[in-house]
């Protein structure tokens, strides 16, 4: 296993700036997640590390040595693709053996057999070894392609949204399996996803990417509790954070277009116009609540219920544990957990 470093990586496709001065470091054995919406440059970053794409500027280091001159084959990284990653004309066994049979490695066939079987057992696909890959289900296919990555003990795992083509149940199951595998093997992993749940649940650290730029790097707690921008705040958390435009006046914050007024936090210096961010779980529905709003919509999810409240011209999203007795159209009283409010400037940057 190894660590990976990216220093000031930039990449252009024609007129389109795909990556803009991207730098980060992945430590040995770390599960590092690149989170961002479609087109943010996540896959490009991965492909540059693998050597499938060449950066215009910057340096990629593996184990503190520049890797830019190495072809993909010699970087000793494993790549798990979103789809299409299995060779359709081969059996599962041959797919798993394929990386080991590379002329670079010269592993005797007996050892290949042993390693393939070991890997298959680890991923519980031993019964599929003689099958053609075309006849596998989505989950089985992705298991095999993860197997093909771990079978040769590479220095780094690069995973490009490996779970996004699976249905919800399977995704959850494989997510847990993958986390477990990564922890037991201690493998350095760079995992790309647009799914905030995957990022929060699996990552040791997360880098949030937006339009080719890194917006924030931190632990899942940092990202969730101290989002650097409104973009990050909206990217993580489900349902989404409430972002309310507000004005500061006489030590109070007036939420625009709404009767809600909060005392301004004295410990930070707030500008006259700002955006207030409140997580749905911090909009607490209680009879002693300071504010009131009309229930617009109720989404019961079982362990919690999502309630949309209208207060003046603003709609707030609240989550409340269990099942609510509120009905659409009711007036509900709620309060806002003041110590957990996020403040952003009108440019979207955290204050």
């Amino acid at each position: 296993m190894a660590d990976v470093g990216l220093q000031h990586i930039s990449k252009r496709f024609g007129q389109n700036l795909a990556l803009d001065d991207v730098s980060f470091e992945i430590k040995d054995g770390e599960f590092f997640v690149l989170l961002g919406p479609t087109g943010a440059g996540k896959t490009t970053t991965l492909r540059i590390i693998a050597g499938l794409e060449r950066q215009d500027q910057g340096v990629v280091t593996i184990d503190d040595e520049p890797a830019d001159h190495l072809p993909p084959a010699e970087r000793d990284v494993a790549f798990v693709f979103q789809q299409y990653s299995l060779y359709p004309t081969m059996t599962v066994y041959d797919n798993l053996a394929f990386p080991l049979r590379s002329p670079l490695r010269r592993i005797p066939e007996a050892e290949i057999k042993q390693r393939v079987e070991e890997t298959a057992e680890k991923l519980r696909i031993s019964h599929l070894l003689q099958r053609k890959t075309a006849h596998l289900s989505g989950g089985e296919m992705q298991r095999v392609s993860i197997g093909r990555a771990i079978v040769r003990h590479p220095r780094i795992f690069l995973m490009d949204e490996p779970l996004s083509n699976l249905d919800a149940k399977l995704r959850e199951a494989l997510r847990i399996e993958l986390s477990h595998l990564q922890k037991t093997q201690g493998s350095t992993t760079l995992f790309v996803t647009h799914d905030q749940t995957e990022a929060l649940t699996m990552a040791d650290r997360i880098a949030v990417l937006d339009q080719g730029r890194i917006v924030q790097i931190g632990s899942p707690y940092d990202i969730y509790d101290r989002p650097a921008t409104t973009f990050v705040a909206q990217m993580v958390g489900s349902p989404k954070i409430n972002l309310l435009p507000a004005a500061r006046e006489n030590g109070n914050l007036h939420i625009t277009d709404s009767p809600i007024t909060l005392p301004a936090d004295a410990s930070v210096e707030l500008p006259a116009a700002l955006v207030v961010g409140v997580r749905p779980e911090d909009v607490v529905i209680e009879d002693s609540g300071q504010f009131s709003g009309q229930v617009m919509l109720i989404e019961p999810l079982g362990m919690e219920t999502v309630i949309y409240l209208k207060s003046g011209g603003q709609t707030l999203v609240s989550t409340t544990p269990g099942i609510t007795r509120l009905r659409i159209g009711n007036e509900a009283r709620f309060s806002i957990a003041r110590q957990r409010i996020h403040y952003f400037g009108s440019d979207g940057v955290r204050i």
Binding site: L52, P71, P72, A73
Partner: protein, 315 residues
């Protein structure tokens, strides 16, 4: 009731379709059937008016196709008839007062055809696949212009360039050589081959090769192990089209060869016997000439059908 009616209509449509298909088949096959019957007809039956449908089949046509013969005098004929070591083809010739004095050039012509069509097909498909791969996978400068240029070589009718090519070939010593025709046919087929194969290679997801590249294989190894087996369909379809062109080509073969490298198509019509046109021999030659292409097309028919409809239907 409506269900029965629906079934009845479906059956009627099917009947019409099958009838049409059979009618078309017959129209297309009549020349081939006529050729087949002519090849086995005795001389009198071929020129008979009105044409004869029934006749006593004879191998005369095939014998004159494959042999050189000379006319026998009455005395020689009597000598010949005494002999017991005559093979069946000698006897066929003897009935018309002829003796076989050696093999004809037809066999050599067919051999030339096989060599030239075979090698040019392999060359066109190999070069076509490599450049199709390059166009499909790499960022080629002015790619659209190159592709148009390649296609444009097909836009001029080949006949237009026969004279310049003839003059060039004479200068370069390529006249009447195998390599000359191979080069020419390869060049002609290459545009079709590049375009056709590019379509196929485009359909193979890049991720397959990229996975192989990351798994420790070079670009060339990934091409051989992943792209090649995936493009069998395209290769088969392209090969058949190239082969048919090179195999059937007549005008250039006539212009650019005289003897050593002459292929079968220009030589078949010139099978002229001692007694004027040998229609049976011509028909026999054409018939035999058809067989290799039919065999190849039949062997790869599974790929061919998929190949032609490929890309039209998405998975």
């Amino acid at each position: 009731m409506p269900k029965v009616e629906h079934q009845g209509r479906a059956r009627a449509v099917k009947t019409v379709r099958v009838t049409l298909a059979i009618a078309l088949c017959i129209i297309y096959l009549i020349p081939v059937l006529w050729m087949l019957s002519t090849a086995f007809k005795p001389r009198e039956a071929i020129v008979a008016v009105p044409p004869k449908i029934t006749f006593n089949p004879t191998m005369e046509g095939f014998v004159s196709l494959f042999t050189k013969r000379s006319t026998l005098t009455r005395m020689q004929m009597e000598q010949y008839q005494q002999r017991t070591d005559l093979s069946w083809w000698d006897k066929v010739a003897l009935e018309r007062g002829l003796a076989i004095i050696g093999p004809s050039q037809y066999v050599d012509r067919v051999k030339n055809s096989l060599i030239i069509a075979g090698i040019s097909t392999i060359a066109a498909v190999t070069l076509g696949l490599l450049s199709a791969y390059a166009f499909s996978r790499f960022r080629v400068r002015a790619q659209a212009d190159w592709l148009f240029f390649i296609l444009s070589t097909r836009m001029l009718p080949p006949v237009v360039v026969t004279i310049p090519i003839f003059l060039m070939y004479r200068q370069l010593g390529l006249f009447d050589t195998h390599i000359g025709l191979i080069l020419l046919y390869t060049a002609f087929n290459l545009s079709l081959s590049v375009w056709l194969l590019k379509g196929f290679v485009d359909e193979i997801p890049r991720e397959y090769e990229e996975a192989a590249l990351v798994d420790g294989y070079s670009r060339w190894q990934a091409f051989r192990k992943i792209v090649l087996p995936q493009s069998v369909t395209g290769i088969a379809a392209t090969a058949v089209f190239s082969l048919i062109f090179a195999w059937n080509e007549y005008a250039f073969a006539l212009m650019l060869t005289s003897d050593r490298a002459r292929t079968a198509p220009p030589s078949i019509p010139s099978v002229v016997g001692t007694a004027g046109r040998e229609w049976a021999a011509t028909a026999a030659g054409s018939l035999l000439f058809l067989i290799p292409v039919v065999i190849v097309a039949f062997a790869v028919r599974k790929y061919l059908l998929r190949g032609i409809t490929f890309g039209a239907i998405r998975q």
